[in-house]
């Protein structure tokens, strides 16, 4: 449609003459006075207003001043006679008039002036439109980045594309890096069969023949003005089922991370997307990507906090699985400690007083770390305590614990385990070892002994080693100290060249033997701390000491 020109002049001859000159190229509206002119302005979108100055009731300058309020984007020109110059100059200086046309006018000059005035109008309109688009982008940008719920962000993004940016329909597909798939994540303005189809749509990211996948992989938008006339490869089934006619895609990337792709279309008959639309969508996509990334990071932070709290609770539960008090025995002292490296631990120790002068002492170390190891530790404890109730030989107990743990856990999970029975009456310690670091015995005589054993860790496939475990016995005398420890102690600092090692443990135990079980326990812990020089431990530390008074 041609641009509209409004001519206001109280002299009908002038009005007709001007209208005649212009109606070939423009839509012409006429009025004989200011009020009628304002009326027409209110009803039509006018690009150019040409007004006479000398009119009864309302002068041209007065009319144009009011006209600017009603239609600020219209360009104004004034018809003048010689005597009106002062008024004209005032109006020009006030910025109300673009040019004046002096009567009589040259038709050729008039044509040029009008054409330039119209161009000016179109330029200003375009600028105004772009300003409001930028403002809209800013506003929805602010809206979507203020929301931290992923689902809600997606909905706001898609509704923003349609309601604020002016597309007909919007659609978002998200990248699933793990499955290497591009998957539907939401739509707006789509309904019925098209919606059902879109909701289940997914593409393998390895494909190179689908527009949206290429958008994501190559990080560039695609503009398809007409699906029937494009060189891009498209999914024809999707085009048909969803009724795409003219659409644009924009990638959603945040830093290095590929988030997905936005698709916006114009589906009305004869409507097409333009390069301007593409720029708009791309500009918006940048903000959308930030908003989506913010929401994701926030959700991750919340989840992380929740897990940390759960680990805290698990650690409390696990503390109760360890002895809260140690038995007081005639002639013996028992001390024990454990220090998890990560909240919850895979180390286990136990001291079970049978009440008849026999006391079981056990130390175990489950493979791996953290919560999985802690759960297995609980299983190991249950298995051990159950076996303690029967009156089987220690070697048989170990076999059964091994079978039980193998059945209760995945094949990669195992525990090294060493336990023994202290008989207060006979002053003997009968023990069995399943792959656990050999306990040390520092005798009053100065002799140090490693309590060796035979047998693989518990929880491994029994077919790998048929046994049997071998129980051994040592006699205990006054002044002896026996220490069972987990490899967190012997292997402290193992990632560096030197580790704490069994030799050092033996030395410390022998040197502090006379301080009894608790003294030895503290001495070993202190020695490890000194050795580690404040570096964090990456394994759990556990130790049980038994001293003979």
């Amino acid at each position: 449609m041609n641009p509209t020109v409004l001519i206001v002049d109280d002299e009908p001859d002038i009005l007709d003459s001007l209208a005649l000159s212009l109606e070939m190229d423009y839509e012409v509206l006429t009025a004989t006075n200011g009020l009628d002119g304002l009326d027409l302005l209110a009803k039509h979108q006018v690009a150019l207003i040409i007004s006479d100055q000398r009119m009864p009731k309302m002068t041209g300058v007065e009319f144009l001043a009011k006209a600017q309020e009603v239609s600020p984007n219209s360009v104004c020109m004034m018809l003048t006679g010689f005597a009106d110059f002062d008024a004209i100059i005032e109006a020009v200086n006030k910025g109300q008039i673009y040019r004046y046309i002096s009567k009589p006018w040259e038709p050729a000059d008039l044509e040029i002036d009008v054409r330039q005035a119209i161009e000016r109008y179109e330029m200003q309109s375009s600028l105004t439109r772009r300003m409001s688009e930028l403002q809209a982008l800013c506003e929805i940008g602010a809206t979507i980045t203020s929301v931290l719920d992923s689902e809600l962000v997606i909905q706001k993004i898609l509704s923003g594309i349609v309601d604020t940016l002016g597309f007909d329909r919007a659609y978002l597909m998200a990248v699933d890096e793990k499955d290497e798939i591009l998957r539907s994540a939401g739509s707006y303005g789509v309904s019925g069969e098209a919606l059902t189809f879109l909701n289940q749509l997914e593409y393998d990211l390895k494909r190179d023949d689908v527009g949206v996948v290429l958008t994501v992989k190559e990080n560039r938008p695609i503009l398809v003005e007409d699906v029937d006339d494009t060189h891009f490869q498209l999914d024809n089934e999707a085009i048909m089922k969803v009724g795409f006619r003219s659409f644009v895609t924009a990638p959603l990337h945040a830093g290095n991370r590929r988030i997905g792709v936005l698709v916006a279309d114009r589906s009305g008959a004869g409507e097409r997307v333009t390069e301007h639309d593409q720029n708009l969508l791309v500009g918006f996509a940048n903000q959308a990507a930030i908003a989506l990334e913010n929401a994701r990071l926030y959700e991750e932070a919340v989840e992380k906090k929740r897990l940390e709290e759960e680990v805290g609770v698990a650690a409390e539960i696990q503390k109760r699985l360890l002895p809260t008090t140690l038995p007081v025995l005639d002639g013996y002292e028992i001390a024990a400690m454990t220090r998890p490296s990560r909240g919850v631990s895979g180390d286990y120790y136990d001291v079970v007083d049978m009440g008849d002068g026999r006391v079981w002492i056990a130390v175990g170390d489950v493979s791996g770390k953290g919560i999985p190891a802690a759960l297995t530790m609980a299983t190991l404890r249950t298995l051990f305590r159950a076996q303690v109730e029967h009156n089987l030989a220690p070697a048989d107990m170990m076999k059964r614990i091994g079978d039980g743990l193998f059945q209760a856990t995945s094949p990669e999970v195992f525990a090294t385990f060493c336990f023994g029975l202290l008989d207060v009456a006979t002053h003997t310690f009968t023990y069995v070892n399943a792959g656990h670091p050999y306990p040390v015995l520092a005798r009053a005589s100065g002799e140090t002994v490693e309590l060796d054993g035979v047998g693989i860790p518990v929880g491994m496939d029994p077919m790998l080693w048929h046994g049997p475990y071998e129980a051994r016995q040592v006699a205990l005398a006054s002044g002896d100290v026996l220490v069972i420890f987990s490899d967190g102690i012997s292997e402290a600092g193992a990632s560096d060249e030197d580790m704490f090692g069994e030799e050092r443990i033996l030395d410390v135990v022998a040197n502090h033997r006379e301080q009894g079980a608790l003294g030895v326990q503290c001495a070993v812990c202190d020695a490890v701390d000194v050795f580690m020089k404040g570096q964090p431990m990456d394994d759990d530390l556990t130790l049980v000491a038994l001293s003979v008074k």
């Binding site: 791996g368 999970v413 195992f414 860790p457 077919m463 790998l464 048929h466």
Partner: protein
């Protein structure tokens, strides 16, 4: 973890490298073994010359892999074992469960003279 695979006849030689210290890193090893067994390859040689040390998770994965290949009539033999790794195997009493061989060639050849392990 990186696993470099070389097939020599009916023996698969795997060279491992990486930090091998925790659960998520070492899981792929057993998966790799299971796939080899599914493809009919159960005679495995694992070379550790690029590894200085590993954690208990890796040990568990190795024993689980050993049981997988033995159940398929094969075996898993180790080469390139450093003193530190050998000490882990000794302390856990697994040194006699795994066959440790000096070189890859000898390990591959051992499958001719001793096709399967003798479970003790």
């Amino acid at each position: 973890m990186k696993i470099k695979e070389e097939i020599r006849g009916d023996v698969a030689v795997l060279t491992v490298s990486g930090t091998l210290m925790s659960g998520p890193e070492v899981g792929p090893f057993h998966d790799h073994i299971k796939k080899l067994v599914a493809d009919g390859l159960s005679k495995i040689v694992v070379d550790f010359s690029k590894v200085k040390w590993f954690g208990s998770s890796m040990l568990g994965v190795m024993t689980a892999s050993l049981s997988t290949v033995r159940n398929a009539g094969g075996d898993l033999r180790l080469t390139g074992v450093t003193k530190k790794i050998e000490s882990i195997l000794i302390v856990t009493q697994l040194a006699s469960v795994f066959k440790i061989v000096e070189t890859i060639d000898r390990a591959v050849a051992s499958y001719k003279t001793q096709p399967t392990s003798e479970a003790k």
